[in-house]
Amino acid sequence: MGDVKIFALQEAVPAVEVPDVLYVGGIPLLRAALILVIGIPAAWAIARFARDYAIRTYDAQKGLVVHKSVFYPAVLVILVTVLRELGLSLTPLLGAAGIVGIAVGFASQTSVSNIISGFFLLAEAPFKVGDVIKVGETTGVVMTIDMLSVKLRTFDNQMVRIPNEALVKTEVTTVTRFPIRRMDIPVGIAYKEDAGRIREILLEIATANPRVLMEPEPIVIFEGYGASSVDFKLASWTQTPIFLPVRNELFEEIKARFDAEGIEIPFPHRSLYTGSDTAPFPIRIVSDGPVEDGGALEP
């Protein structure tokens, strides 16, 4: 066997000389920049992949939560790594953070409350992205459910930001939660009309519209004897997405049918009595000409 030369590892692997350009004042600047330039887009891509998977598997709301839960921590890790590459020690920062934290804590009570309320909203899920909700006087489509707030798009295309804390404390109506909705159409008729006939007509109108559901069946509810009219409510059901157009159709069909049947829908009016229901009010006819002297009646 011939001689076998075994080279020491440090002789076999030549040392890599790092060019001076990668260092500025002894700091690996390029490496830090590379971490930043590669890391942030990579974190975005991973977060987006996770978001798309969550949307396919669950829904858009969970996709948003997953995206934020992956991206922001990843960015934090990248920034900490970059800071360490640049030689910045985090220990003094953490030390100072204790003092700053107390100050920030007092100042950020509302933000923390909003964040915690956001978790409650996600867990309880009273609504999801895409639902129409009503909060106080505001009605809109839920665009995003974020850490601090929920963003709505109103039907006239304005954006409304509602803090999560406000949503947890307030009554929220989720308009599109269930697949069917009841349309309540108030109908007032003159006292002289036949209430039974009105009820039949209203039910005919509802059942003749193919987009009004036959089950649950439409009904007519007697609401009361009003000051100017006998008041009813036609209660019928339709699918939630077409609630508005079908409701509009029923209003139009009721008006058209009442006009055709000669049924009076009274406007508000008052009957006045002079103390005796047989004695008429005294009335004097005033000329059509311009009124003079402050409107005094001619004798």
Binding site: P179, T207, P210, L213, E215
Partner: protein
């Protein structure tokens, strides 16, 4: 396929369909009888046409009856109670839809242009206030007897063999017929759906539903002309509903 400029007219029950060709465009329009008055022979001038531009190959038109595209909610003409271990046979009449297809003569490739209901059916809901599915409300009642006067060219007779395999009596007030699983058979002048066997297993278990893949015995000699939209030989599902099941005003 109509020649260019000519208008073909097809009448199926209350539905009238007009088909014409203008250049390479196929146009279809339709109308239904209202209050017993049939549509005119020629299409009105202001009628809307659906239009398709076709490939430049020989085509022919295919017109087929099909079932509606949703389940149907059926009520018997008289509600009755099906005692445990008892069975009953009921007949329902379903207004057919008309499917217009363009078939390439050489390849046999068929493309559906449109499906038109012969009668407009009202929407209804099968389920409860929180969840369910959209269905059609069948205006004709299901009957226990099959009489000759019940046959009309556009109505498909569906036969349901109901049986109560549970330990409770079953009030038959309304039920859902899932027509997307049914084929259509034809005997001269008559359309039949394949027989459906429904075995009620109890309130919590639903019903076993089985399609027989054959016309009912009352339609001996009928041949299949339209296959089912969804191929299935059987499944278990909720089929019967009671009037009180949908809460709200009636509790």
């Amino acid at each position: 396929m109509p020649t260019v400029g000519a208008i073909e007219r097809i009448s199926v029950g209350p539905l009238t369909v007009w088909i014409t060709r203008v250049g390479d465009e196929l146009r279809v329009s339709h109308a239904r009888a209202e209050h017993g008055v049939a549509p005119p022979i020629d299409p009105p001038d202001d009628i809307d046409w659906n239009r398709w531009s076709l490939r430049d190959v020989p085509h022919h038109l295919s017109v087929l009856p099909v079932f509606p595209d949703r389940p149907l909610l059926i009520k018997p003409d008289h509600s009755f109670t099906l005692m445990r271990m008892a069975s009953a046979r009921i007949y329902s009449r379903v207004p057919a839809w008309v499917r217009l297809q363009v078939v390439e003569t050489e390849t046999g490739l068929a493309s559906t242009l449109v499906e038109l209901p012969t009668e407009t059916l009202s929407d209804t809901w099968w389920g409860d206030f929180v969840e369910g599915s959209l269905a059609y409300w069948l205006p004709t009642k299901a009957r226990r007897e099959l009489r000759p006067d019940l046959f009309e060219p556009h109505l498909i007779i569906c036969t349901l063999q109901l049986s109560n395999g549970s330990t409770d009596n079953l009030a038959v007030e309304q039920l859902v017929l899932r027509v997307d699983h049914l084929s259509i058979f034809e005997r001269p002048g008559e359309l039949w759906g394949e027989e459906v066997v429904v075995e009620y297993q109890g309130e919590s278990l639903g019903s076993d539903i089985r399609m027989e893949d054959l016309p009912p015995r009352e339609a001996e000699g009928a041949v299949e002309i339209t296959p089912a939209r969804a191929q299935s030989r059987g499944f278990r599902a909720r089929t019967f509903a009671r009037f009180m099941a949908l809460g709200g005003f009636r509790g």
